[in-house]
C-alpha cells in the first residue's frame, strides 16, 4: 500500500495532475450540456461540487460498516440523496435556472466522477482525506467546464453572464451554442493540454 498522500498533494492531484475532465475524460455527460451559458454552468457546478464532496465524506465515514457486496448500491443511494437535496434547493431558490437545467441536475447521480471518487478514493481513505479529494476533484472538474462556458457563451451569444462583451457588429456563432460547439471546444482543449503537458506514460508514449 502506497504512503498516504498529504493534503496538498491530494488537492494538486485533483486540480491538475489527475484532472477528471482533461486527464481521465470522465463524467462530462451531464455537465457539458449546460456549458452554453455561464450562469447555468456555475449553478450546476456548485451542485456537483456539493454532491461529490459530501458523498465522498459520507462514503468514507461509513466505509467500515458497508458490506463489500452491496457497496455500489449503498454508494448510489448516498449520492442520490445528496442530488435530491441539490435539486430541491435549486428548485426553491433559483426556479428559472432549475427550469433551464431540466433533467441534468438529476443526472449528477450517474455522473461517473461521483461514483468514481467514492469507489477509487473514499472507500480506502480517512474521512478528511476523502473530503479534500472530493472537493479538489470536483473543483478541477468545475474549472474546466467554466473555461468551456467562458469560451462558448461570448462566441455563441456575444455575452458573458448576460452582459454584452462582444462589439455590436459581432455575428454570434450559432454553432457554439449547439451541441457540436461543446464537442469541438472540449476536444480542442483536451488536445491542447495533453500535447503541451503530457502527464501519464500513455500520453508520453503517444508523442510520435
Amino acid at each position: 500500500m502506497p504512503k498516504p498522500l498529504s493534503g496538498s498533494q491530494i488537492v494538486l492531484q485533483g486540480l491538475w495532475n489527475d484532472n477528471p475532465v482533461l486527464r481521465q475524460i470522465l463524467g462530462i455527460c451531464s455537465t457539458l450540456a449546460v456549458t452554453n451559458l455561464l450562469v447555468n454552468t456555475l449553478v450546476m457546478n456548485a451542485g456537483l461540487v456539493f454532491t461529490v464532496t459530501m458523498s465522498s465524506l459520507t462514503v468514507s465515514i461509513l466505509r467500515n460498516y458497508t458490506p463489500m457486496r452491496i457497496r455500489m448500491m449503498a454508494q448510489t443511494l448516498i449520492i442520490a440523496s445528496y442530488v435530491i437535496i441539490v435539486d430541491i434547493a435549486i428548485g426553491a431558490y433559483l426556479p428559472d435556472i432549475s427550469e433551464a437545467l431540466g433533467p441534468y441536475v438529476g443526472l449528477i447521480i450517474t455522473n461517473c466522477i461521483v461514483m468514481g471518487r467514492c469507489e477509487a478514493f473514499a472507500m480506502k481513505n480517512r474521512p478528511w482525506a476523502s473530503f479534500l479529494d472530493g472537493l479538489a476533484m470536483s473543483l478541477g472538474y468545475a474549472a474546466v467546464l467554466l473555461i468551456i462556458a467562458v469560451i462558448r457563451e461570448p462566441l455563441g451569444f456575444g455575452t458573458l453572464l448576460g452582459y454584452r462583451i462582444m462589439p455590436e457588429g459581432f455575428t454570434p456563432w450559432t454553432i457554439m451554442i449547439m451541441a457540436p460547439g461543446a464537442f469541438f471546444t472540449l476536444g480542442l482543449f483536451a488536445w491542447f493540454v495533453r500535447a503541451k503537458f503530457p502527464q501519464t506514460a500513455e500520453e508520453k508514449k503517444q508523442g510520435h
Binding site: 455527460c29 448510489t76 450517474t110 460547439g181 480542442l188 483536451a190 495533453r194 503517444q206
Partner: protein, 197 residues
C-alpha cells in the same frame, strides 16, 4: 407540449434529438467503448433493450406509485434502483438461458447501470409528459440513436487508428470528441424536420 404520434417521436429521438449528439448523454461509455465496431455493436444492442424496458417500468412506477403517494421528489432514487435491478435481472436471465448471447453482451450489462443516457431518457419522459406509448417509442428511439452514433464513431476510429499518423496528444478522447462534434454537426441537418421539446 406538442402532440406528436409515437412513430414520429421514434424517428425524432433517433435523428433530430439524438440523445448523445444533442443531449450529451452516455458519453463516458461512449468514449471508452467506441474503439472498434464489434464491442460498440454489443453495447448498443444492450442499451436499446434496457432503455426501452426501463422507460416503460419507470413510467409505471412514476405515474402509478410515486405521484399518487406524493413522493415525486424520490424519483431519482426509485428510477436508479429500478434500472439497477432490471439490469441485474437481465444479466441473470441471459446467463441462464442464452449463454452464447451472454458471452457477447455479458461484460457490457453492468456498465449500463451507470449510463446516464438510460436515466436521462426516463427523466426527459417525465419532464415532457409523454404517454406510455410515447415513452416506449422515445426509449426505443433514444437507444437506437445512441447505438447508431457509437457504431459510426467506432468505425471511424478503427479506420483512423490504422491509417492516420496523428499529432501529439490528439489520439484518444480528444480525437473522439472532435469526430463526435463533426457527426453532431451532420445530424443538425435533420433538426428542421421535427421539433420535439
Amino acid at each position: 407540449m406538442v402532440q406528436v404520434d409515437s412513430g414520429t417521436l421514434l424517428f425524432a429521438a433517433i435523428f433530430t434529438n439524438n440523445i448523445l449528439l444533442t443531449n450529451f448523454l452516455g458519453l463516458c461509455p461512449f468514449l471508452a467503448i467506441s474503439r472498434e465496431i464489434r464491442s460498440a455493436l454489443g453495447l448498443g444492442v444492450a442499451v436499446v433493450f434496457v432503455m426501452t424496458c426501463t422507460a416503460v417500468l419507470n413510467y409505471l412506477a412514476y405515474y402509478y406509485v410515486l405521484l399518487p403517494m406524493g413522493l415525486d421528489h424520490f424519483r431519482y432514487i426509485v428510477f436508479i434502483i429500478i434500472i439497477a435491478a432490471f439490469v441485474q435481472l437481465v444479466e441473470m436471465t441471459v446467463e441462464r438461458f442464452f449463454p452464447a448471447l451472454y458471452y457477447i453482451l455479458g461484460i457490457f450489462l453492468p456498465l449500463i447501470t451507470v449510463n446516464c443516457a438510460i436515466l436521462g431518457a426516463s427523466l426527459f419522459m417525465i419532464i415532457r409528459e409523454y404517454t406510455l406509448v410515447q415513452s416506449m417509442a422515445y426509449g426505443a428511439g433514444s437507444g437506437i440513436g445512441w447505438m447508431i452514433a457509437i457504431i459510426a464513431v467506432g468505425a471511424i476510429r478503427e479506420k483512423v487508428q490504422k491509417s492516420a499518423k496523428l499529432p501529439k496528444g490528439l489520439e484518444g478522447p480528444a480525437l473522439t470528441l472532435i469526430i463526435t462534434g463533426i457527426m453532431a454537426l451532420a445530424f443538425t441537418a435533420f433538426s428542421g424536420m421535427i421539433q420535439i421539446q
